[in-house]
Structure formats: C-alpha cells, structure tokens
C-alpha cells in the first residue's frame, strides 16, 4: 500500500511545469482555479462595459459614446457577465468542490474537463473581437431577437459561433458534473446525504443539458435565416419572429435558474456553518430546488406578455410564474429558520450570505410584481426590469460566488485572508450595489425604457445616483483582487478545519488539499 502511494506521488514529478501545466492539466483543482480566474477577468471586462453604460447615463444627452456603440455595450455586457463571469465561476466552484465534498479523487472525465475550460478563452476572443469590426459588435441585445439581430453587421456569425462554443463548454461541464456526482460518491453517501451544494449543482447540470441545446437550435436557425435562405423567423418567407422569442425563452428561463441554483447551494452551506446549526429542512430544500427547476420549463412566456398572447396563455404563464415563489419562499424561510437561535458569528462569507438572503428576496419580490400580467404591461422593457434582474444576479449570484470564495479560499490555498479587509470589501460592495440598483426601480416605475443612451431630464437625479453607485461598486472590486493577492503571498497556513461550525468531507482534508483529493474513499456514516 505504501509503495502504491509512493508511485502515485512519483508521477507528480512528470507533470509539465509553467504554462504547459495549465494547458494540459486534467486535475480538478487546477481546472477549477482556471475557471475562477477566467471568470474574474471576465467580471472586470463586463464591469468595464457596465461603467461605459453608466458613464453615458450619468446625465441626459449624448456625451461619451454614439448610440450604436452604447447598444453594443449593453449587449456585450450581458453576454460576458452571463456566459463569461457567472457561469464559469459556478463551474469553477463545482470543479473545486464536488470531488472534495463527495470524497472522490477527481472529476469523472478529467480530459473532457480540460477541454470544456479551454474552449472558453477562444469563444470569448472571438466574441470580443467583433468590437473591432468596422460594423461593430452585436447590438441587438443579448436575447438576439430577430428581425433586428438579422439586420446587424458582420459580427452576427461570430457571435453565434462563440455562443455555440460556450454552449458546448457548458454541456460538457454539466455531463462531467452529473457523471461525477452519480458515480463517484464515497461509500455510504446516499443521494439524500449529499451536501446541499452538490444537490443544487446536480439539478443545475440537468437544467444545462436540457436548456443549452435549445439555445443552440434557436441561434442555428438565426444563422440559416441570415445566410442559407431559410425563413424560420423571416416574415417574408412565412416565418414568425415571435417564434424566436418562444424558443429563446424556453432556454432563457431555465438559464436564469442555472445562474441562481448553485448560489442557493452556497448560501445553504454557509448559513449553517456560521449559525452552528444543521441546515433547517434539508429534505424540503432538495425538493424545493427540484421543483424550481421543473417549473422553470413552463413559465417562459412571462418574458413576452406584450407580444399579443391570448388571455388563457397570459393567465397560465402568470400563475405558473407566481407558483415559483412557493418553493423559493420555502428556501428563504429555511435559511431564516437555520439562523433562529443559532450561535451566529459574522465573518465575511456569512455577511455576504446574509446580504444575499435580504437582497435576493427584494429581487424576488420585484419578480413577483413583473409576473402579474396587467402590471407587466406597464413595467415591460423599463428600468424596473433592469433593477429586478440585477438584484437577483448581482447581490444574488455574484454575492454567493464571492461568499463561496471567502468561505473556501483558506481551504484551497491553505492561507487565511484578512478578515478586516474582507469586511471592508463586504460593506463597500453592499452599500454601492444598493446605490446602483435601487434607484432603477424608481425610474423604471416612472417609465424610463431599457437600452437607451439618452433620456428625458426628469430621470436625471436617480440616474446620476445609480452611476455614482456603479463606479463605487466597480472600484470596490479592485479591493477584492488586492485581498486575493494579499492572501496568496502570505505564508501563514490555515487550519484544516478553517471554520469551527463547518461540516463536510472537505474539512477532513489538509489545507490546501492533496493533489488527488481523496486517494482512499472516506466512509460516510
């Protein structure tokens, strides 16, 4: 046995070093780190685009950019934040955490894992290169609605091909996650004993393999409409542009849960750890996640209440959408019940998780308002929608990712981050996120449309506040990079069990964990 272990350790000396180590790596931790670093870079690129948007909107009138470029910025900001920042960050967390949380040595398909990451830099190079075209990048919004997207410049085929690549990457990642979770759990770890983060990722992976191919189909139809004379969406050939919206949102609504379910898993892991109690209602959490996932496939048309649906359709989609509030409510109440009478402490990951619960719930409530068909006719395509989805995505998904990084960083690196800098980062981020997005509710309710570079003067004050908040939020994230740098250059080692209230197999490993996480599968009682 000891000779065996020696052999395995021996192999490490043969792994390439330097750049080739990262290009050829099949190790789940290396790939997880690559995903997370990549997502951080994309978060800053997408954030920079957001700041161009907010700078232009700081005051009425056209100051900095021409409207065409403004539209390219709104489109690219969305594509990069969704496909480049949030999704790769969650896949990175899955890569790092799934093997060490279920007691496996690595992911089930290491080579596929390498490939699914290395598709991403190529896809985004192609996507970003369109900004340097004479005709500019995509400007029809990330939803790529025809006929506008069919009338765009030369960027269109590049955008579609890069989204295809991103889809392939996500599908491969999801296949890997499902194969690992279903086949490589430690003996004794039944499905209902899995950590809740693993459960949410398993369900997310199923959403990915069901939804991403539909997006691939929809954009392939766009491509053939533009270049091969088909008329799926061209009215002159008997096609229907509204059909694109149906197919797109059939993918799009499961997609928004792909962006939030792993966040639920992270918060459900962090809240019990710092409340020093078990997660309240584990079983109901699992069932709530599964029912949110199933419901996500029958609510898509609430994104398009104003296209002229029959009354029966509008009522159906309104009611099913409101139904989603029930399992989501179960989750929020379970988090609150977990904290009830717990011995709570407020380290940085806990602060981000708490802010998540409060601010995500605000985003959920504005979602409920948008779900009401008659009200939505007023809110549709206004800044109220922008406020809603930024509340669920920034203090929702992004806060959960940041919380997860603070929570597991000592485990990954073996080094403790600076708690006081972490708290400073939390307070700056939380204050500015609200300064940025809360005023958008008001201008939206007052009727300011989305995706416009100029606006009437009555919206000036709230827009100026939002712009100040956006710059504050963006600059606060530089502190996050400094905290990461500061942690990595330390040489103080963290304990194996970093948080005294944390539970799970990952805390039985050393910090940082060994190269092949669990060479001998642990037994779960």
């Amino acid at each position: 046995m000891s000779a065996n272990i020696h052999d395995i350790h021996d192999q490490h000396h043969h792994t390439p070093s330097g750049l080739m180590r990262w290009i050829t790596t099949t190790n789940h931790k290396d790939i997880g780190s690559l995903y997370l670093w990549f997502s951080l870079v994309m978060f800053f690129i997408g954030g920079f685009m957001a700041l161009i948007i907010r700078a232009e909107l700081f005051e009425p009138g056209l100051q900095l950019v021409i409207p065409g470029f403004f539209n390219q910025m709104t489109t690219m900001h969305a594509l990069i934040m969704i496909f480049g920042a949030v999704m790769p960050a969650f896949v990175g967390l899955a890569n790092w955490q799934i093997p060490i949380m279920i007691g496996a040595p690595d992911m089930a398909l290491p080579r596929l894992n390498n490939w699914s990451f290395w598709i991403l830099p190529f896809a985004f190079t192609m996507l970003l290169s369109t900004l340097f075209f004479d005709s500019g990048g995509p400007a029809a919004g990330w939803t790529l609605y025809p006929p506008l997207s069919l009338q765009g410049g030369n960027s269109m085929p590049f955008v579609i091909l890069s989204i295809h690549l991103l889809g392939i990457s996500s599908i491969l990642g999801a296949i890997n996650v499902i194969a690992t979770i279903l086949n490589m759990r430690a003996p004794g770890m039944t499905l209902m004993k899995m950590p809740i983060f693993i459960w949410t990722w398993l369900i997310t992976a199923f959403l990915l393999i069901a939804a991403m191919p539909v997006l691939a189909g929809a954009i392939t139809m766009l491509l053939t409409d533009r270049f091969f004379g088909t008329s799926f969406f061209t009215a002159s050939g008997g096609g229907d542009p509204v059909m694109f919206q149906h197919i797109f949102w059939f993918f799009g609504h499961p997609e928004v849960y792909i962006l939030i379910l792993p966040a639920f898993g992270i918060v459900s892991t962090i809240i019990p750890a710092f409340s020093r109690k078990k997660l309240f209602g584990y079983d109901s959490m699992v069932y709530a996640t599964a029912s949110i996932a199933l419901l996500s496939f029958i609510v898509w048309a609430h994104h398009m209440f104003t296209v002229g649906m029959p009354l029966a359709g509008e009522i159906f989609f309104m009611l099913t959408t409101m139904l989603i509030a029930v399992p989501t409510g179960v989750k929020v109440f379970n988090w609150v019940a977990t904290m009830w009478k717990g011995s709570m402490t407020f380290e940085t990951p806990m602060l981000f998780a708490l802010a998540f619960i409060i601010l995500f719930t605000i985003g959920g409530f504005s979602g409920l308002m948008l779900a009401m068909t008659p009200a939505d006719f007023q809110y549709h395509d206004t800044y109220f929608v922008v406020a809603h989805f930024h509340y669920v995505l920034v203090p929702g998904a992004v806060f959960a990712i940041i919380a997860a990084v603070y929570y597991w960083l000592p485990k990954w690196t073996g080094k403790m981050y600076s708690e006081s800098l972490g708290k400073l980062h939390f307070w700056l981020t939380t204050v500015f996120v609200n300064v940025t997005f809360f005023p958008m509710h008001f201008v939206g309710l007052a009727g300011m449309p989305r995706r416009i570079p100029d606006y009437p003067v009555q919206f000036a004050d709230f827009n100026a506040i939002a712009s100040v908040g956006a710059f504050g939020f963006g600059l606060s994230q530089i502190l996050f990079v400094y905290i990461l740098y500061n942690t990595l250059k330390k040489d103080v080692t963290a304990d194996d069990k970093v948080w005294d209230g944390a539970e799970g197999l990952e805390w039985t490993l050393s910090s940082p964990p060994p190269y092949h996480s669990f060479e001998k599968a642990p037994r779960v009682e």
Partner: protein
C-alpha cells in the same frame, strides 16, 4: 465503469433530443397557432371545389395593407370594405405599383383579425400563394377570391384581412 458509460450515454441522448426538440418546436408552434388561430394565420392552401350556399347572413370584411420596411411600392386594396354574404364567393383585388425603374419581385403574407376566426376565411384565388414579379413603373392588379365559411361563429360581425408585402427581389437572382 459500465455505470459511468451508462450515465454518459443517457446524458448524450438528452442533449441530442433537446437539440432536435428545438427544431420540433417550429412545426409544433405552427400547429398550435393553427388550432388556436393565434397570429391570424389563414389557410395557406387554395380551397378547391367549394359549393356556394345561401345563408342570408351578412358580415363586413375590411381590407388593409402594409409595405414592410420602406420599400418603393404603393400597395393598397381596391375596396376598403365589403359587405358580404356568408357562404358566397366574392372577388376583389389589391393594386400594386412599382415606383422604381427596375424589375422587382414581391410576396405578401395574409393575416386575419380576429385570429380565432382566421380558419373561416377561405381563399380560392390569392396572390399570396406565389412570388409576384413586377416591372419598373408598372401598376398591377392582384386578384383575390374568397368565401367566408358558413360555420363562422354567429357573434362575429366584422373580419379584417391584412396583407403585408415584402420585397424579395434579392431571391430573384438566386434562382
């Protein structure tokens, strides 16, 4: 390892199925629109061998037209409104003028309001079935022959037939 292979295989099948499903949504969408009459989709095929019936029931049919984009055409119905007897065959036409100096090709898509009654608006002869070619500065009369089905719901008093005309000259060279 057979378990792993089973997992890959079943997931790959789901992926392939969902990709095909996105294409299946296209005919499904058409069928759904036809059943519910959404979009005012009318029957795109010629009705042949229809028998006229006397119903003594009269409804108003209004005609409208739109030119998609800003194409150099004039496209208008000959009559804006007709009072027709349900079950009888009527003929009217649309007038199309090409304001340019060159040969153009057009096509027109019909739509009926209210959508749920679209299936009762039956076309015997319609220029919407084919691509039309028109010379520069030419004015053409495009005939339309229709019958309102006797099964038209009793509470329907007015039907609106709308044509949207598209310039498809770029397909002319392709042929």
């Amino acid at each position: 390892m057979t378990n792993l292979k089973k997992t890959y295989l079943s997931i790959s099948i789901i992926v392939i199925f969902m990709f095909s499903f996105s294409y299946m949504l296209v005919p499904l969408y058409d069928i759904f629109c036809e059943i519910t009459g959404l979009n005012g989709k009318t029957n795109q095929e010629k009705i042949v061998g229809i028998n006229e019936v006397n119903t003594d029931r009269f409804v108003t049919v209004k005609f409208t037209s739109t030119v998609a984009g800003s194409e150099p055409f004039n496209f208008n119905p000959m009559e804006n409104e007709m009072i027709v007897e349900v079950g009888k065959i009527y003929t009217t036409s649309y007038i199309l003028t090409n304001n340019t100096n060159s040969l153009k090709q057009i096509t027109a898509s019909p739509s009926v309001v209210p959508g749920r009654d679209a299936e009762y608006f039956k076309k015997i002869e319609c220029f919407c079935f084919t691509q039309q070619q028109i010379n520069g500065k030419e004015t053409k009369e495009l005939p339309l022959q229709f019958v309102i089905d006797e099964d038209l719901p009793l509470n329907t008093k007015t039907l609106i037939l709308s044509y949207t005309m598209f310039n498809t000259t770029d397909q002319l060279g392709a042929k």
